[in-house]
Homo-oligomer: 365 residues x 2
């Protein structure tokens, strides 16, 4: 790999930059997945994740040995059986992906769609829950393809009242904005390590609450994925330490170090830092002629969907990367070629990082 | 993690020790999964894996973003549909796991079983293939639970003659003994990074040959796993670089460095090194009163199933780890409490490593 590529400022939709302490942890010598020293580290990681998800001791919380998309699949395949119904909020690419996975489970996806770049009105989702009486309601908290922050709590409460299980995608939101697993009545949630947690990509933290665990026990058929079967995986993370697959040791070292940084900073302070960096970015971009795609009250702090003031957005992105070493994301799906996605995640949610981007843009425009 | 745990000698069934160069690569700054510098590194990794699998340019070869068990699931879910039949060779835990996954695909697993610690007679598998006319034949090359080296080529040829697709588990064998994807008529194979490749756990190299890719295109239903759908994953690894999920960047840096070490040494030299270390180990262990579980001609070089000359094998393993920092594996499944599994994989397949283990055992017995 060319050495100049090691100095990237990663302001796309993830991965974000990883702190030197986390990289150093990643490179510690590998040890065995049944070594008492490793198991004790793993206990610590589970406890830290529980605090970040704000979930109770009765939840099964663990890092899945795959990326965030596998976390999405794990939540859906463990809770759904053929013939079940899931109400899915679709505000962008990741809601679409949920529908595709629901259907691969042999279940029926009932879509509630938002206009592109807008939130889903909770009342519409509530009405659909009451009409469909689904097994599962699935929602993306921070839709990375559009930059919209979806209100969750009202929908999750409606799901619980209807006896449905609430699945929440927190891939982009976790540790960058408030996520309250217990208080909001979430039953299953998943995230990724490469966004606000500021760890390399490769693991998917998941949380399964008591109602989701009860659903696991009462299934009629085995989970269609052996690798993502949380009943089997949970036995390794439980007292018995039953071998399921070899845990990705070094990635878990890195997650341990990344979670320490998150908890040392404090969740509220971290959320505030993400909000402040976001506001500073919006002000600077608007001064340069960029338009924000999302209305102020519906914006994510860590993922900014913006319309660049140029005809050829791809050329400008290439120059930003080639001449300034700064990566920003292009649009995904229907928004390809139209918007940029600027991530301020984890270590990068800082005024000086925003200033570096604004300075580079000023010199290129 | 206690610092003394960082000095483990990993002589279990994997992970094996990782060279400092590979750990250093792992800790390089994370960059984006669509960054041209990363995509070029990924091309190199795919080329190197092709050489290690000895597969042609018409195969799709890539590192899956999950561990070896996900590679097993990927091969089976991509090739099987409900109602299909798979003939599965069962010589231990990993053959059993294949049957479980076949059944979770809604397919029928026809088992051909070997006596524990023995190979499957190719003629018996051939007869079952001719009787069942399956869609898939699945076999474990190096059964890590028993230490048996399964002859592959005759069975793979029988599968091809019968129009079946041959799936081979090379988790423990790849780069430690001969694996010939094309010459042996393998259609799909998978491995893990944490065995003879001497990379941390977390990725599963897979190879899909042209007949397996044709099967993917002619499926009637979508693959039940979205995350492991090789049609979707292949689009990211192809010319188009279509986003599927965020690749585990740092783990791929490490795999790149580990594969360079493999190819710099040369496959034949590496196989010979594994054989020599194995013979040295057997001689030393027999002198200490250990019994080998497997007949000489059926033994794996990198995974030695041995019966320790003590009543309480677990106590001896604990002392080996606690007093000497050496990890060996216990038995799995039916062999728990009865055998040890001593791995000499990758960096550890060396006479001086064997001598360190023998010295420690001598002092404890």
């Amino acid at each position: 790999m060319p050495t100049d590529a090691t100095d990237r400022l990663l302001l796309g939709p993830g991965p974000s930059n990883v702190h030197a302490d986390v990289l150093a942890a990643l490179a510690r010598p590998t040890i065995g997945h049944l070594d008492p020293a490793f198991l004790s580290l793993l206990d610590g990681v589970q406890g830290a994740l529980r605090r970040v998800f704000r979930s109770g001791d009765d939840a099964l919380v663990l890092p899945l040995s795959a990326t965030g998309s596998a976390g999405m699949e794990a939540c859906l395949v463990n809770l759904l059986e053929p013939g079940d119904t899931a109400v899915v909020g679709v505000q962008g690419v990741f809601g679409e992906r949920m529908c595709a996975i629901v259907e691969r489970c042999g279940a029926r996806a009932v879509r509630v769609e938002a206009e592109m770049g807008r939130i889903l009105e909770p009342s519409r989702v509530r009405a659909e829950i009451e009409r469909s009486r689904p097994r599962v309601v699935a929602l993306v908290h921070a839709e990375t393809s559009t930059g919209v922050a979806q209100p969750v709590e009202e929908i999750a409460r409606a799901a619980r009242e209807a006896g449905a299980l609430m699945v929440l995608d927190c891939v982009t939101s976790l540790s960058g904005m408030d996520v309250r697993f217990d208080d909001w009545c979430i039953d299953a949630a998943y995230s990724g390590t490469q966004k606000c947690l500021a760890c390399p990509p490769g693991l998917s933290p998941v949380a399964f609450g008591p109602r989701a665990l009860e659903r696991l026990r009462s299934r009629e058929r085995p989970v269609q994925s052996w690798y993502l079967d949380l009943g089997l995986i949970g036995a390794y993370f439980g007292e018995q330490r039953v071998y399921h697959h070899t845990a990705p040791i070094n990635m878990i070292y890195a997650l341990d170090a990344a979670l320490r940084r998150v908890l040392d900073e404090g969740l509220e302070a971290r959320f505030a830092r993400h909000r402040e960096a976001h506001l500073h970015l919006v002000q600077g971009l608007e001064a340069l002629g960029f338009e924000m795609q999302v209305a102020p009250r519906e914006r994510l702090p860590m993922l900014n969907a913006v319309i660049p003031p140029v005809d050829d957005e791809a050329a400008l992105r290439r120059r930003l990367l080639g001449e300034h070493g700064i990566e920003v994301g292009g649009g995904l799906g229907k928004l390809a070629g139209r918007i940029w996605r600027i991530g301020l995640m984890g270590e990068n949610a800082r005024r000086e990082v925003v200033d570096r981007l604004l300075g580079a843009l000023r010199s290129l425009l």
